[in-house]
Amino acid sequence: EVPPLFVIEFLHRVVDTFQDYFGVCSEVMIKDNVVVVYEVLEEMLDNGFPLATESNILKELIKPPTILRTVVNTITGSTNVGDQLPTGQLSVVPWRRTGVKYTNNEAYFDVIEEIDAIIDKSGSTITAEIQGVIDACVKLTGMPDLTLSFMNPRLLDDVSFHPCVRFKRWESERILSFIPPDGNFRLLSYHVSAQNLVAIPVYVKHNISFRDSSSLGRFEITVGPKQTMGKTVEGVMVTSQMPKGVLNMTLTPSQGTHIFDPVTKLLSWDVGKINPQKLPSLKGSMSLQAGTSKPDENPTINLQFKIQQLAISGLKVNRLDMYGEKYKPFKGIKYMTKAGKFQVRT
C-alpha cells in the first residue's frame, strides 16, 4: 500500500531531473551515463523514500556532466560526486545558497499565461480558463528580500507558491514577499477561472465537409485575430487529427508551410505571424479512401499561438522592491500569452 500519486510524482521528478542533467531521457542516454544516473538516483532515493529531489541541491551534490569534466574524470579517476554537502540545505532558508555573488545584479520575472479553451462548431466558447505562472530568474548577491505587488491581485483565483513565499503576507496584504532561490525557479502558478470572462484572442473559421458520393472532401481554414489589444499573434500553429478515411490532402496555404502525414493522419500547418490585413488561410481538398462511407466526425483543430507583451487575464505587476541588501538591482518583467489546450470543434 503506497499512495499512487506519490509514486507517479516521484517518477516524473526523476525524469525531469534526467532531462535537466542530460537533455533527454532515453534508454541510450541512461546507458551512456549509467554512473551519473546511479549517483543521482542514490541521492534522490534513500531506502525507498525520496530524499533530495530539488534540482538545485542535486546539482550541487553531483555536478552535471560536461565534456571537460568527463575528460578530467577519466584521467584522475574521480567521480562527479561533490565532496561537500550543499550549504543551503541546513540553513533557515534551505532553498538559497549562502554567499552568492554576482557582478550584475538582475531579477527577471516572466508572467506566462496559457489559455485552455474549447470552442464549439459555431464559434462560441464552451470553456475557457487561464492558467498562469510567474517564472523568475533572480541573480542577486547576498540575501535579498524581495516584495512583488500586483495592480490587480484579486484576479488570481487559485494560487500555489514556491515555498519561499511568505504566505501570511499574501493572505493579509496580497503582496508576494520572499527571499528568492538563486537562479531560475517558478515563483507562483495561478488559475483564473472560467467565471471571469476570458477573451479569446483568435478565431478560426473553418469549412470542412465530406461528400457522400465522391471520394473528395473540401477543407478550408482561416485564422484571424480577435481582441488582442493591438499586439500581434505569433507562432501560430494549427494541428488537426484527420479521420482514418482520409488518404491524402492537397492544400495550398496563403502563408506558412503545411505537412500532412498520411500514416498518422496528422495535419500540421505552421502559420507564423498573423497579419490582420491579410488573414492566413489554408484551402484545398481531401481525397478519401474509395468505398468507405464518409467519416461521421469532423476533425478537431488544435491551435497554438503566442502573444508577446500581453497577459490576457489583465494581470499586471505593480512594483518590485528589494530589502536587505544595499545595491540596486536591475529589474525586468515580461508578459506572454500562450495557447494551452486550445481546441476548436468542427
Partner: protein, 740 residues
C-alpha cells in the same frame, strides 16, 4: 500533498469547507496524464458522495479530443455524477458532441452515461430516449448495439408509452449483429409482447430460422421469447415454439439444453405436468423491477481516498482501514499545542496549598499542575546541600484514560507527592527509590504511551504530526540535531512532558524523560506567577554563542499581570544575557512562552537576574546542566578519529561503569546519553561502540564522547575535550544517566 489534504477534508470536513479542496484538485488536472488519472478516480468517488463540491468546476471536466481514452471515460463518469436538473441540458449537449467522436470505446461509454443521466433525472428521460433512438440509425454497429442495451434498460422503467420504439427496434434485428444487443431486443419484445402483438411472432419466426447460427446469449433469449409468446399467444406460435425447443434440445451448450428442457416441462401441458403449469404465465410475465444504473465507483468509497487500494479497487497489502469515529469525545487537551493543562490546575490548587511551604525562588516541586494520572512519577531524589531536590518526570496522561481511574490515580499520586514534601530528605530518598523501581517496569509502557499522545493530536499542528510519523524509530526523545525534523519534535515533546523539578544547586543533573523543564519561579513564591524553563536545544536566533532557553510563564492569579520583563541582570564576568521582549500583559489563567538566550561562557555558573512585573521583583537564577552547554555537530567516523587523536593526554577522561540491565539495548544507551547532553551521534562501524560529538556553544571547542561496551555490563566511557572541567562534569553526568 494536495491529495492528502483532500483526503482529510473529504473524510472529516463539514460540508461548507470542502469547496476548498475541489479547487486544488481541479488544478491538479492540468498535470501529467497519470496524475490526472489518479485524481479523476478520486474525484469520481468524491463526486458521488458530495456532488455539490465539484459542480462549479463542471466545465473543467469537459473532454478534449486529445485526452487518452481512460481519462475520457473517467471524466465522463464525473460528468454523469455531477448531472442534475439544472445542468443536464448543457451536459447532454456535450454528450451529443462526444457521440460523434472517433473513439468508439468512448462513444459506448457516453451512451451508457446518457442512460444513467436519464435514469437519475426523470425530466430528461424522454429527451434522452429520443436521442438514443436516433442513434439507432447510426452507421456504426457498436454505437447502435450500445444504445439498444441502454434503451432496453430505460424502457423497462416505463414500457407502456413506447411501443413505437419497440417496433422500431424489432425491425433492427435484421441488421444488428452484436449479440448483446440482439439479446436485448429479443428480451424487450418478449417482455412487452402484449404491446406489439403483431410483430412478436414474426420476429420469433425470423429468429427460429437463424437459431443455429446465433450466439448462446441470443439463443437463450430466443427460447425465452418463444416461451412467453406461447403463453400469451399460443395460437400463432405453438408450432414455432416447439420448433425452437427442439432445436435447443440438441444444442451444444448444456445451459441451453437445460433451459429448453425446463421450459418445455413448464409450459407444454402434458398429463404429468403438475401444479407448476398453472403458474407458468405468472412466472414468465411477472413484473420485473427496473434495473438501476449505478456508477461503478459506488463501491469504492469504502477505501481510503488516494490510496493504492482505492485506485485498484482491491485491497492492497498493508492497507489500513480508517478507524471509525471514536465513541467518546477525545480529551480536549489534545488540541492544545503548547502546554495543555495550565488552565486546569486551579481545582487542585487548594488541596495542595496546605501542604506546600513556600520557598524562595527555587522552591519544592509539585508545582506542575499536570493532570498526569497514571504515570508513575519516575523520580529520584537526592540530598544535595541543604536544599531538597526532587526530579520528577511525568508523562502526559493517555487520552483514552477513563475518568474514574484517572481520579483515583490522581488522589494516590497527590498523597504520594505530599509525603515526599513533608518527610525528611532521607525518607524521601527511600520513597523515591521505591517509585523509581516501579518506574522501571513502567518504562516500556511509558515509551509506548509517549507515542500515543502526539499521534492523537489532530488539528493545528499538522506539520509536526507528519514529522513524528516520519520519525520511525521509537525513541521518545529525539536525537538532537540541527535538522528541522527533530527540533520540531523537541518542541512537541516539550509540550508533552511536564517535569516537576526544583532547581538543583549542585552540579548534578541526572537525566530522565525527554526535554526537561526546570522551575524558575514557583507559583507560591511568585504570588500566583509561575515560571518554568527548559533548554530547547535549538540554536538561539541572533547569537550562535548563546544557549536558547524557553521560558513558560503562566499566570495563576486572578488579576492581569502587566509588563513582565527581565531586569538587572547580574551576570558573572563574560556572561551575557539576551532578554526576552517585554510581555505587555498576561491575562489570568494564560500562559506565555518566550525564548531568551544566555551565553554561559562554557561554565555551569548560574545566571542571576530579576524577573519584574508591574508590582513585584523576583530574583531568579538559571543554572545550566553541563550537557546543555553544547550543540551537536555532525562528523564522519574518520573525522571523529582524527579529532580524537588530537585530544589525548590531559584532555582525555576515561571512566569505567557498569551498565544496568535496561541500558543494554543500543537504543536505550543512545537515548540516555542524548538526554544527558545535547550531542549528536556519530556513525560507527563497530557494534559495541557508540560515539557522539558536540561543540561547546560559546568557544566552539569539540567534545567527543565514546562509549565502549565490554563483556556483560561493563562499559568504558571516554570523553575528549579541550575543556577539562566540562569533560569531567560530562563524564559524571553521563555515568549517572546511564546508571539509572
Amino acid at each position: 500533498v494536495v491529495m492528502a489534504v483532500a483526503q482529510l477534508y473529504f473524510h472529516l470536513a463539514p460540508k461548507a469547507e470542502v469547496g476548498v479542496i475541489a479547487k486544488a484538485l481541479v488544478r491538479l488536472l492540468r498535470s501529467h496524464s497519470e496524475v490526472q488519472y489518479v485524481v479523476l478516480q478520486n474525484v469520481a468517488t468524491m463526486s458521488i458522495k458530495r456532488r455539490g463540491m465539484f459542480e462549479p468546476y463542471l466545465k473543467s471536466f469537459y473532454i478534449r479530443s486529445t485526452d487518452p481514452t481512460q481519462i475520457k471515460i473517467l471524466k465522463l463518469e464525473v460528468l454523469t455524477n455531477l448531472a442534475n436538473e439544472t445542468n443536464i441540458s448543457t451536459i447532454l449537449r456535450e454528450f451529443q458532441t462526444y457521440i460523434r467522436s472517433m473513439d468508439k470505446d468512448f462513444v459506448a461509454a457516453t451512451i451508457q452515461a446518457i442512460g444513467r443521466c436519464a435514469t437519475n433525472i426523470g425530466k430528461v428521460r424522454d429527451t434522452c430516449l429520443n436521442g438514443l433512438v436516433q442513434l439507432l440509425s447510426n452507421r456504426d454497429e457498436l454505437v447502435v448495439a450500445e444504445s439498444v442495451v441502454v434503451i432496453k434498460k430505460l424502457l423497462q422503467m416505463q414500457p407502456a408509452q413506447h411501443s413505437e420504439i419497440i417496433k422500431h427496434m424489432a425491425k433492427l434485428t435484421d441488421n444488428i449483429q452484436v449479440p448483446m444487443a440482439r439479446a436485448s431486443i429479443l428480451w424487450l419484445i418478449g417482455e412487452y409482447c402484449e404491446h406489439v402483438p403483431k410483430i412478436a411472432p414474426d420476429v420469433l419466426r425470423k429468429m427460429a430460422k437463424s437459431f443455429t447460427n446465433e450466439e448462446d446469449i441470443v439463443k437463450l433469449q430466443v427460447i425465452n421469447l418463444a416461451a412467453k409468446l406461447y403463453l400469451t399467444n399460443s395460437k400463432q406460435s405453438k408450432l414455432l415454439t416447439q420448433y425452437v425447443l427442439n432445436l435447443a434440445k440438441y444444442d451444444q451448450n448444456y445451459d441451453i439444453r437445460d433451459r429448453a428442457r425446463f421450459i418445455r416441462q413448464l409450459i407444454v401441458p402434458t398429463e404429468k405436468s403438475g401444479a407448476l403449469n398453472k403458474y407458468a404465465k405468472k412466472l414468465f410475465l411477472a413484473q420485473k423491477p427496473a434495473p438501476i444504473l449505478e456508477s461503478s465507483f459506488k463501491d469504492r468509497d469504502h477505501f481510503q481516498l488516494g490510496s493504492l487500494s482505492h485506485l485498484l479497487n482491491a485491497k492492497a497489502v498493508g492497507y489500513q482501514e480508517l478507524p471509525d469515529w471514536p465513541d467518546e469525545a477525545p480529551d480536549p487537551s489534545v488540541r492544545n499545542v503548547e502546554v495543555p493543562e495550565w488552565t486546569k490546575c486551579t481545582s487542585r490548587e487548594k488541596r495542595k496549598e496546605k501542604v506546600e511551604k513556600p520557598f524562595y525562588s527555587d522552591s519544592e516541586g509539585e508545582s506542575g499542575p499536570t493532570e498526569s494520572a497514571d504515570s508513575e512519577p519516575e523520580s529520584v531524589s537526592e540530598e544535595s546541600g541543604r536544599r531538597r531536590s526532587s526530579w520528577r518526570a511525568r508523562e502526559e496522561e493517555e487520552e483514552e484514560e477513563e475518568e474514574e481511574g484517572a481520579k483515583k490515580a490522581k488522589k494516590k499520586k497527590a498523597s504520594q507527592g505530599r509525603k515526599s514534601h513533608t518527610e525528611t530528605s532521607s525518607e524521601e530518598a527511600s520513597a523515591s527509590e521505591s517509585s523509581s523501581s516501579g518506574s522501571d517496569s513502567g518504562s516500556e509502557a511509558e515509551a509506548k504511551r509517549r507515542k500515543v499522545p502526539p499521534s492523537s493530536r489532530a488539528g493545528p499542528k499538522e506539520i509536526s504530526l507528519l514529522d513524528l510519523d516520519d520519525f520511525t524509530p521509537p525513541p521518545p526523545q529525539p536525537v538532537p540535531s540541527s535538522s528541522i525534523v527533530s527540533t520540531s519534535l523537541v518542541t512537541d515533546l516539550e509540550g508533552l512532558t511536564l517535569t516537576d523539578t526544583s532547581l538543583a544547586p549542585a552540579l548534578l543533573s541526572p537525566a530522565f524523560g525527554a526535554v526537561r523543564t526546570y522551575e524558575l519561579l514557583h507559583r507560591m513564591a511568585g504570588e500566583g506567577l509561575s515560571v518554568e524553563y527548559c533548554f530547547s536545544r535549538r540554536p538561539f536566533p541572533g547569537d550562535p554563542h548563546m544557549v536558547a532557553i524557553q521560558i513558560q510563564i503562566s499566570n495563576n492569579t486572578d488579576a492581569e499581570v502587566k509588563s513582565l520583563r527581565v531586569s538587572e541582570p547580574k551576570p558573572l564576568s563574560g556572561m551575557r544575557i539576551q532578554e526576552f521582549p517585554e510581555i505587555e500583559r498576561l491575562a489570568p489563567g494564560d500562559t506565555a512562552s518566550v525564548v531568551m538566550g544566555i551565553d554561559f561562557c562554557d561554565s555551569t555558573q548560574a545566571a542571576n537576574f530579576q524577573l519584574c512585573t508591574h508590582t513585584r521583583h523576583f530574583y531568579v537564577s538559571i543554572q545550566p546542566p553541563v550537557g546543555e552547554l553544547m550543540a551537536p555537530v555532525f562528523m564522519s567516523e574518520n573525522e571523529f578519529k582524527k579529532e580524537q587523536g588530537k585530544l589525548t593526554g590531559m584532555s582525555e577522561i576515561t571512566e569505567k561503569l557498569m551498565l544496568p540491565e535496561k541500558c543494554w539495548s543500543d537504543h536505550a544507551i543512545v537515548q540516555q546519553v542524548t538526554v544527558a547532553a545535547n550531542v549528536g551521534r556519530v556513525p560507527c562501524g563497530a557494534d559495541n561502540e557508540y560515539r557522539f560529538a558536540a561543540k561547546t556553544v560559546t568557544s566552539g571547542s569539540l567534545v567527543l564522547i565514546t562509549l565502549e561496551r565490554r563483556e556483560g555490563a561493563v562499559a568504558q566511557l571516554t570523553v575528549n575535550s579541550e575543556k577539562m572541567v566540562i569533560g569531567t562534569m560530562l563524564v559524571k553526568d553521563i555515568v549517572q544517566a546511564l546508571a539509572q
